[in-house]
Every structure is written in C-alpha cells, then in structure tokens.
Amino acid sequence: MFGDTLGYAAAACLVMALGGCAVYKGAVSEPAGTPSPAATEGAREEEAAPATSGSAPAGGPAVIALMEQARTHVAAEEYSQAAAALERALRIEPKNAVIYSQLAGVMLVQGATEEAENLARKSNSLAGDQTGLQARNWNTIARALRARGENAAADAAELRARQLKSISGE
C-alpha cells in the first residue's frame, strides 16, 4: 500500500512543484519550431524575466492559466481534476517539460508510482538544460521508486537529484 507518510511527503513535494510554475511563468519562448504569435508578444513582455538558465518553454497564457487551475485543484486535493487540467495544457504544448513534471507529481500523490516515474522521465527528456526541473523530476522518481520498495534505485535517483540541484543553484 501507499503509506501515509509517503503520501504527505508526495503532496508536499507536489505543492512545491506546482508552486514552481510561478517561477516558470517568466520564461518566454514558444514551443520548438513555433514562431511567436505577434499579438501575444505584449502580454509576454510584461512578464519577460527569464527564470532559470536556458529554460525550455514554460507556456503561453492559455497553458499558464491551465497550470493555475491545476494548482487550485491540487490545493483542494482534487487530483483527477488537476490531472485533467494539466492534460489539457499538454494538448496545447505537448513538449512542455514543466507540465509533465507537475503531472508526475499529481500521479505520485495518487499512488500511481509507475505513471509518476514515467512522466518524470519524459519531463527530463524534454527538459533540455533546465537542471532545477531535472532535479525535481529525479526527486519524484526517487519517491516513486521508494514507494515500490526499490531502495537502491531510489538512493541513486536522490543522489542524482542532489547533484543537479547543486548545479542549478536552486
């Protein structure tokens, strides 16, 4: 069974991860290969303070709105609703590493450890050089592995997370 302690830990991690989306709000680039739509430029410039070094797309206003929605649902412990909002966001930006990372957190808190691990890995594969995001994903992977009793692998994942975290300076 999915232990209570782990559940709380995962929930805490998730809230932190989703809180992180405020940080990512600033990043401005569009999904790969998409020219910036001229009309949204204005809105973007207001928030244009790159958050993490060389960050990958964090999302247009629609995606940010959906991530906010997801965060509200997570705070209300409505995890299915949160996942649905994040999936909506992914349909708009299917290569957005941050959304996958948050979805991984939502899966973890619901006890779906395999899904959580897979989504976190997918997030890493899209994360480019966002080391802070990668560190959070490795933490999610470590928690998922530990929940399944794979302690050695979990230790290794945690180590990876710590290394990446120190690189990112977060």
């Binding site: 569009e30 999904p31 790969a32 290969g33 998409t34 739509p37 001229a38 009309a39 949204t40 809105a43 247009g60 206003p61 629609a62 940010i64 709105a65 959906l66 299915s80 609703q81 996942a83 649905a84 909002a85 999936e87 909506r88 992914l90 349909r91 708009i92 299917p94 290569k95 979805l103 899966m107 395999e114 899904e115 897979n118 989504l119 890995r121 997918k122 594969s125 899209l126 480019g128």
Partner: protein, 778 residues
C-alpha cells in the same frame, strides 16, 4: 370482479324457457369477460414493456473533442467559421442566444452554448475572437470586457451507441425540451392532455362532427397517449378494432405512468421523417435532421414546422413538399396564436419567414462510424455492451472533426484520382488511414474505407496486410542500439544474397529497382533508399529474434515468427497497429497506448471514468534519435521526397514507405512534430493495386498532412548523443571534400576514430576532382 358482476347482473329466473337458457348464457358471457380480462392483462403487459424499454434505453452519446480557443492557436477565421457551422451555430451578428456567431473581417463574435464538461459546467459566453497572422491573437469576453486566456466550445455530438443497428435517436428528458415546443404541440395535437385519462371523449365527438360535416376524415380525436401507443406498434391501419385496442392501451398507460413521463416518451418516439432507410423518430433527432441544430435553439416558426409535420411526415415533407409544409406551418402558427403562444399581431411577420430547413440532411448522427467503432471497442474493457446502449453515458472522445474531414476528403478524392490517372478500374481501390496527436497518443481521425459514411468493414482496425518496408525502421533501430557495431554511417553490403531456407528452397531478396548497390552503402542511405538486400544482411547480423523483440517493445504484441523475411515485412499488421509502433518512434521512444476516449460521464454528467495520459519509456532515446534522423533523410532525399511537393520544406518530417510483392499493398507511415499519419492503399480481394508506397499511400498521406497545422519534427537531442559535422558525399564515396556539411548524430563514446569531422562552419577548399570537365562545374 368479473364473477361478482356476473352474479349481480343475473336476472331472477321467472320462466322455464329462460331457466333453460341462462346457464349457457352465463357460461358464455363469463368466458367472454374472462377472455377480455386476460386480453387486457396481455395488452397491459405489452404496452408497459414497450414503454419501459423506450424510456430506459438511453444510448450513450459520443462527442468529439471540444475545440479549445486561446491566443496563439493557429487558426484562420474561415476555419473557425467552418467549425461553428459544423456545430450548428447560426449566423446572427446580434448574438441573440447561445449557438450564434457573426464574422466581421478578422474578427468573429460568438455566443457559446452552455455545456457540462468533466470538470464542471461552462456557462454560455459572448466572446470576441481576433485573428492576426494566421493565429488567434486575442480573446475577449464581451459582457465583462475581460481578456480570456482559454475557452472551450461545446463538443460536436458525433454519434450514439445503440443496441440495434439502423436506429438513430437523440433522447431528451422532458426538462431539456423547450416549453414552447410542449405547449405548441399540446395546443395542436391534444388540448386537454393534462385533463383526460388517455382518451378524450370530447375530442372524439368534435372529430366525429367535423368528419361528418366534411364527409371524410379531416380530423382525428387521438390523444397524445393514443398516438404514442400507435407509434410503439408502428401500424398505420385505421380499423376500428385497432383503434379500440389503442384506446385500451392508452388508458392502461395512463394508469401506470404520469403525464410528464408519457409526454417525454412521446417527444422521443414520434415519427417525424424518413431519410432513406433511416426513420427519424423524436424531436431531438428531427431538429438536427431538418435544421442541423439542437432543439433548444429552434425558433418559434421552426417549432411550428416540426409540430406541423407530426400530422404526416411524408405528406408535409419540408424538403420534398415545401409549399404544403409552409401552408401547414402557417396553420400551426395560427393555432399557436389562438392558444396565445404567440402574439396574433406578429403572425404576419412569422408567415414571411422561410422554412429554414437545411437542404442536405446531416448524415446519421453517427457521422464517423469507423471512429465510433474504435470507441466502442476501447470501452469494452470498462463497460458492458448493454450499459453502453442503455445507461445514457456521455463519452468524450479524441476525435478532431477537422482532421477527420481532411483525412476522409483527401482519401476519397485521391483514390479516384489515382484510379483515373493510372488507368486502374474505378472503385476497386480501398484505403484506410489513422491520424494521431503523437505525444498524447490520441487518435484524432480514423478512416475505415473510402465509403466513410458506411459502418462496414473497418480496414483501419481489421485489415491486416503485409507491412513491407514499414518494418525497416524496426530493423535499423535494432542495429543502432548496438552503437559499438553500427552507426548511421556504417557501410552495409547490398550485393546479391541467396539464403537456403529450412525447407530447402533458396530465397534471393531483390531490390525495388532490380539492381544491387555495392558493398559500401552507408546505413542511413540504405534506409532512405529502402534497399532490401542490405536490410536483410543487416537483419541477419543483428538477429531476427532481436528485431521481433524491438517490435514488441515499440508496441506491437503480435510477435511474428522469427524468419528472415521478417526483415522485409512479410507479416501482417492493421493500420492502427502500425500507428501504435510508429507513434513510439515519433515520441522518441515513449510508448503511449493510442486512445480514442478521454472521459466518460453518467447521464447526469457525473464523472465515471477518466482515461489519463499513460506513457512508458519503451526504448533507449539515443538509438531512436539516430533512427529518426535517418527517417528524416527518407523524406528529404529518399523514397518519400515527393511529400515536399505538398508540404512546406520548413516542416521537418520523418517517415517510411512500404510496398509489398506485386504491388499489392501501398503503405506510408510518418510524422511531423505534432501529427502522425498512417495510410494504407490496396484492394479488398488482395489482387495487385499497381501502386508502390510512394505512388499510392504517400500521395494521400502528404495531402492529409498538408491540410493539418503541422509543427516541425525537432526532437531534443538526448545527452547520450553527440553531433558530428560530416559531408554526406564523403560518407558515401570516401571523398576528401567537405562541400556540404550535415550534422550526423552518434551515440557518445562510440564514434569510430577513423571518422574525420568537417570543421564546423568552415568548408574545406575545393580541390580538383581530377576530371577537367567536372572541374569546370565546381
């Protein structure tokens, strides 16, 4: 009861002749009454079971994906206009109610319909949508003036899941039916509905008088309840016995059920038109059939027409007999005015309005039977067939109507074009197509054959055909996952090969161009040019069982027998199965089960099941990245380069052609960054289609893709990959020059030390070719 009555009514015996007669009389009348009672019980049972059946079997409603509107979405105003037309929104710049819109140059104003989604109710909103540079540039809520970040339109109803084929209905609850319809209907058909007990003696008297006066039947005295009974048993004969039976059943129905229940059943049951073999029952369906919009959006004169049609759907057919229908509608409008449902003063203006009927009735409510077939199959694991057709479930699917229409139209048109231009017999070619969203694993479109409106053989799911060269990416991926042995520039041998098979026969694979290409073909080029012999040699080296394993990891569970011909795709797969395997390649090695369903809600919009995004890393990212690079060369310089006649060169694509023996099957499978399509072309009788992958399926594929909003295919380079600039010519011919430089990906730490990279950005000085003539062309 019967016996008691008999005893009571028995007269006292006074005369002997009477006393001699009465026992048989009593016996006969008792038997008669008993039979009548039994018959009544029988009628009661029949009418009740019919009523219960009609009332409780609410078929599942199947919806397409809702259109999400947000700034940045690539869309032209015309495309949104088409989408709104498809949804039955009507052009009304004043936005007088939900389901209306107006186009004003680069702006569209609309009032959306309220809709209950998985995550709650979305209320009707007035929106102003601005467009610029092929995208939505701004979204404004007109009532509040606020900017909106994202909004969903109500999804298109694409079908219903019924127990019986050929029946089609949109069932409504009485609460969903506009009052002006129920009031209007009762004013015309049954004024005393809420007072009578199933039959209305006053109405019958009125009708008799009217009929006697006219000397023929001009008026019926049937109540709504009687008409419902008549509809249940679908008989049109007007015999007295039949009428008596209907009257008894009507009274029985009223004993068991409330007025609203009976009226609800009537509204859903009444026969309102005919579309070929399809009977149009119920106001819900009739509203779509005649006006292509939901009942809630009908205007008064449209309601009057529907109410008028009840009297004789064939006689007053608004499409075939518009003048009769108009006369009938106006008569009904008069009756509405008499019943004070409309102002008598406004009658004149109502008379002037046209019938408003759409000329071409929309195809059955199941417009995309092949896709709905997939939905039904994928629901099977979770829901019983009986529940699907009776519980009123609401199924939200992944179907993208725009993509589906593009796939259907391109497939149909181009099959005809192929038959015409290549002198093939008309109507013999068949085809199937699947389109997915790549990362989400959503099936956006599914075409089961060229007759798309017909729920026949679903080739996309059930036509298993040899896949030919579509298997080659699997062979090359298996090789590339042995990076110490194979890279994209490894030289393969494409010289004649003879294999002695276990049965003693010799197998000598041939190339499509009937030539051999020497023993130094770079691996990526052997794939791009689809060389068979080099591929078989490669497959034998990596081992056929490993190839079968790779296929399994990528998502095909069929496990073909591990024989050498596997390397050339001599085993059968359905288009949908191919899409699953290629989707794993398109996502960089992440397997996502292809799904057609997002959510299922109960009839009261309570969430029941969600089909969340699932994915699993199925294959190492490094080798998949290398393979995708080679599959891009298939499109740029290989067998599929004609795709760029239809699609902009700015869009990176990856894919593979497939052709089988004697040109029986023509395949193409490929993807951009956001869309994957698989197309098969062949014949149902498995005789030669006379088309290769490139001349047949690829042509349809590139036309479908050209209609979609494509993102370039640009996978992230994984950490395990290093890019080395090389001159492809050099790789091919051992040339010393770096005339053109391309980045070739390699698995880090496995790069052959003999490979000399071209210096990035610096092209080597061109030296003499040793041929004076060629030197002139340097």
């Amino acid at each position: 009861m019967a016996r008691k009555n008999t005893r009571k009514k028995t007269p006292p015996v006074t005369h002997p002749w009477l006393s001699a007669l009465w026992p048989p009389f009593v016996v006969i009348s008792s038997i008669f009454i008993l039979l009548a009672a039994l018959y009544t019980v029988y009628l009661d049972h029949r009418v009740r079971s019919q009523f219960e059946g009609a009332r409780w079997s609410l078929p599942a409603k199947v919806y397409a994906r809702p259109l999400e509107l947000y700034p940045g979405l690539r869309m032209q105003p015309e495309t949104l206009g088409q989408e709104l037309d498809r949804l039955g929104y009507r052009n009304d710049a004043k936005l007088s109610g939900p389901g209306t819109y107006g186009i004003n140059g680069a702006r569209i104003n609309l009032m959306s319909r309220p809709f209950r989604f998985w995550d709650g109710l979305q209320t009707a909103k007035r929106l102003e949508i601005s467009f610029a540079d092929g995208r939505i540039s701004n979204l404004k809520e007109l009532d509040s003036g606020k900017v909106s970040h994202i909004t969903r339109l109500d999804p298109l109803l694409i079908g219903s899941i019924y127990p019986v084929q050929g029946e089609d209905r949109i069932l409504l609850r009485i609460s969903e039916v506009p009052e002006k319809l129920t009031n209007g209907l009762l004013a015309v058909e049954d004024r005393n509905y809420y007072e009578h007990f199933g039959v209305d003696p006053k109405a019958i008297m009125r009708a008799m008088v009217a009929n006697l006066k006219a000397g023929r039947v001009v008026q019926g005295g049937s109540t709504i309840t009687q008409q419902l009974v008549k509809n249940f048993f679908l008989t049109r004969d007007q015999t007295l016995i039949r009428k008596a039976k209907e009257a008894i059943m009507a009274v029985l129905l009223e004993l068991h059920y409330g007025k609203d229940e009976i009226l609800e059943a009537y509204l859903n049951e009444v026969y309102l038109g005919q579309d070929g073999a399809r009977a149009i029952h119920g106001f819900g369906l009739a509203s779509y059939f005649y006006f292509k919009k939901p009942l809630a959006e009908l205007r008064m004169e449209e309601i009057a027409l529907l109410v008028g049609v009840v009297k004789g759907p064939s006689y007053f057919d608004p499409r075939r007999r518009p003048e009769r229908a108009l006369e009938r509608r106006n008569l009904v409008l008069d009756m509405f005015a008499n019943a004070k449902l409309i102002e008598p003063d406004s009658l004149e203006s109502y008379y002037k309005r046209s019938l408003g009927v759409v000329q071409k009735p929309p195809q059955g409510t199941t417009q995309y039977p092949a896709f709905v077939d997939l939905v039904r199959r994928q629901l099977r694991g979770h829901y019983r067939e009986a529940d699907l057709s009776s519980e009123g479930l609401q199924i939200f699917t992944t179907l993208d109507p725009r993509t589906q229409e593009a796939a259907e139209n391109r497939l149909k048109t181009h099959l005809r074009e192929l038959e015409r231009s290549r002198g093939l017999p008309a109507g013999k070619l068949q085809s199937a197509a699947v389109v997915t969203s790549v990362d989400g694993g959503e099936v956006l479109a599914l075409v089961g054959g060229r007759d798309t409106g017909y729920a026949g053989f679903n080739r996309a799911l059930d036509a298993r055909r040899p896949i030919g060269s579509l298997v080659k990416p699997v062979v090359y991926l298996t090789a590339l996952s042995r990076p110490h042995r194979y890279s994209l520039v490894s030289l393969l041998n494409d010289e004649e090969l003879e294999l002695i098979q276990p049965n003693g026969e010799t197998w000598a694979p041939q190339n499509y161009d009937k030539r051999f290409h020497g023993d130094e073909v770079p691996l990526y080029l052997a794939l791009a040019k689809s060389y068979n012999v080099a591929t078989v040699r490669l497959a034998l080296d990596v081992g056929i069982p490993s190839i079968v394993d790779t296929l399994d990891k990528l998502g095909y569970k069929g496990r073909p027998m591990a024989v050498p011909s596997v390397a050339l795709g001599a085993f059968e797969m359905a288009p949908m199965e191919v899409a699953q395997v290629y989707n794993t390649l398109a996502t960089g090695g992440y397997y996502t089960p292809l799904l057609s369903i997002r959510e299922v809600l109960s009839k009261d919009s309570e969430p029941l099941t969600r089909y969340p995004l699932r994915l699993r890393q199925a294959y190492d990212e490094g080798p998949v990245y290398l393979l995708n690079w080679a599959m891009e060369q298939v499109m740029r310089a290989g067998t599929a380069k004609s795709a760029y006649n239809m699609i902009s060169r700015d869009i990176n694509l990856a894919g593979k052609t497939g052709t089988t023996d004697d040109l029986r099957d023509s395949w193409f499978a490929g993807y951009s960054g956001n869309r994957l399509s698989v197309v098969w072309v062949g014949r149902d009788d498995n005789s030669p289609a006379h088309l290769s992958g490139a001349t047949g399926a690829l042509q349809i594929w590139s036309r479908i893709m050209a209609d979609l909003e494509l993102e370039s295919f640009a996978p992230n380079s994984p950490d395990s990959v290093v890019n080395i600039p090389l001159d492809p010519e050099e790789v091919e011919h051992d040339d010393e020059d770096c005339n053109q430089v391309m980045n070739f990906p390699f698995i880090r730490g496995t790069v052959d030390p003999d490979i000399e990279p071209c210096e990035e950005g610096v092209k080597r000085k061109k030296e003499s070719t040793g041929n004076w003539l060629l030197d002139l062309f340097r």
